[in-house]
């Protein structure tokens, strides 16, 4: 059962952290319509995190979502480094959104037939949201990749920068083989193969080059609680109000 908990926790932490990062664009987006769309997707991510923490609480007796989100040591978080990075400029945030959300979409697609019912149910429930996130990301990558010389250049350098971090999404958990044999989740390696295939098509269509990343350059560690310096600051900010007066009813 520990393997399922690990899986759910890392998914929840990824969603919470990337959702918080995306929300940092609220009010600063490049145009009003995009600002609203990006903020709305950020809310979706926080919602996914809430649902996943809820499963941990109900099925495994973990603490409630607020406690898990706001009152946990950094080293107990299982998010990947990719989610932790600051928002940077919009090209980076869009590229992260593109690479991360494709992986998420395939993960939930795989989980929709999971033998662990709560995950399968959640996967089916949020299918539409994720479909939109991927559509939004694809639309931008295509247009900016095939836009002006500057936009193409920015997308390509963001892609080159992101890829070693993006591959860290697929860092394996120790007991992953249990998940595979029990039909809960087909594994990170399988996910990565499907992901590379899927994003390759989009990247190619956008006129960008697929960067070649040596395995030793991949940013690992998040899944075992070793994080970038950015996570610490993010958590400080995220839990600031919560820590001011604990146990307050909202």
């Amino acid at each position: 059962m520990n393997a399922v908990k690990d899986l759910i926790l890392k998914m929840a932490d990824d969603s919470l952290i990337i959702g918080h990062r995306s929300s940092e664009w609220t009010g600063l987006g490049p145009i009003l319509e995009e600002d609203i769309a990006f903020s709305s997707m950020a809310q979706d991510k926080i919602g996914h995190a809430l649902a996943l923490y809820g499963i941990l609480h109900e099925q495994f007796g973990e603490l409630e979502a607020d406690q898990l989100a706001f009152n946990r040591k950094e080293s107990k978080f299982r998010c990947c480094h990719f989610a932790e990075l600051p928002i940077g400029e919009y090209d980076f945030s869009l590229m992260r959104h593109f690479l991360f959300d494709h992986a998420e979409a395939i993960r939930y697609e795989m989980l929709s037939s999971s033998s662990f019912a709560p995950l399968a149910q959640l996967a089916r429930k949020i299918k539409g949201e994720i479909k939109y996130h991927v559509l939004h990301a694809n639309s931008w990558i295509l247009r900016l990749g095939r836009g002006t010389e500057e936009s193409r250049h920015r997308m390509q350098s963001s892609l080159n920068f992101c890829m070693p971090y993006a591959l860290g999404i697929f860092e394996k958990n120790e007991a992953e083989s249990d998940l595979i044999t029990e039909g809960i989740f087909a594994g990170e390696e399988h996910l990565r193969i499907l992901w590379e295939e899927q994003i390759w098509k989009q990247i190619d269509q956008a006129g960008l080059q697929f960067p070649n990343v040596p395995e030793k350059k991949v940013h690992m560690g998040g899944r075992s609680g070793r994080h970038t310096v950015h996570l610490h600051m993010l958590l400080e900010e995220l839990s600031q109000v919560f820590r001011m007066e604990q146990g307050v009813e909202w």
């Binding site: 145009i31 009003l32 319509e33 995009e34 609203i36 769309a37 709305s40 997707m41 479909k131 939109y132 991927v134 559509l135 939004h136 694809n138 639309s139 295509l142 247009r143 900016l144 095939r146 836009g147 002006t148 500057e150 936009s151």
Partner: protein, 135 residues
């Protein structure tokens, strides 16, 4: 994704997740045009004008319209139409719509049907009450 429209239906189903092959190339410092958004609450309902989005092409207009106008209300479908493709009668000609008061018979309310209906309803209920009393 693309559903085949009947030949008589001139609408274009733009949002193609798989291909999205046709789109306008974004230019430097480009100012985007506007698209009018029509929102349909459920299948079979009228599409009702919901507002406007700025977008570089119809696909992006749909992408933006989804979050702008489809996220709070229940939504089955959205249309977008380029604002410049809408034709309108100017407000300077608003007087054309004024009706002469004598022509009230052209308005549905002139039939006074409502009164007859309520009279009928009253008679029905009084009959029912009498029937019940006799039982």
């Amino acid at each position: 994704m693309k559903t085949k429209s009947p030949i008589v239906d001139p609408r274009i189903i733009r949002l193609d997740l798989e291909k999205s092959a046709s789109f306008n190339h974004l230019g430097d410092m480009e100012v985007w045009g506007t698209y009018e958004v029509f929102h349909q609450k459920k299948r079979g309902d009228q599409h009702i004008h919901a507002g406007v989005v700025h977008a570089p092409d119809p696909e992006m207009a749909l992408v933006f319209a989804k979050e702008q106008y489809g996220r709070r209300l229940k939504c089955a479908n959205l249309w977008v139409v380029k604002t410049s493709d809408i034709y309108s009668i100017g407000y300077e000609n608003e007087d054309m719509f004024e009706t002469v008061p004598e022509k009230i018979y052209r308005e549905a309310g002139g039939y006074k049907l409502r009164e007859k209906i309520s009279q009928y309803k009253k008679s029905i209920t009084s009959v029912n009450i009498k029937e019940r009393e006799t039982l």
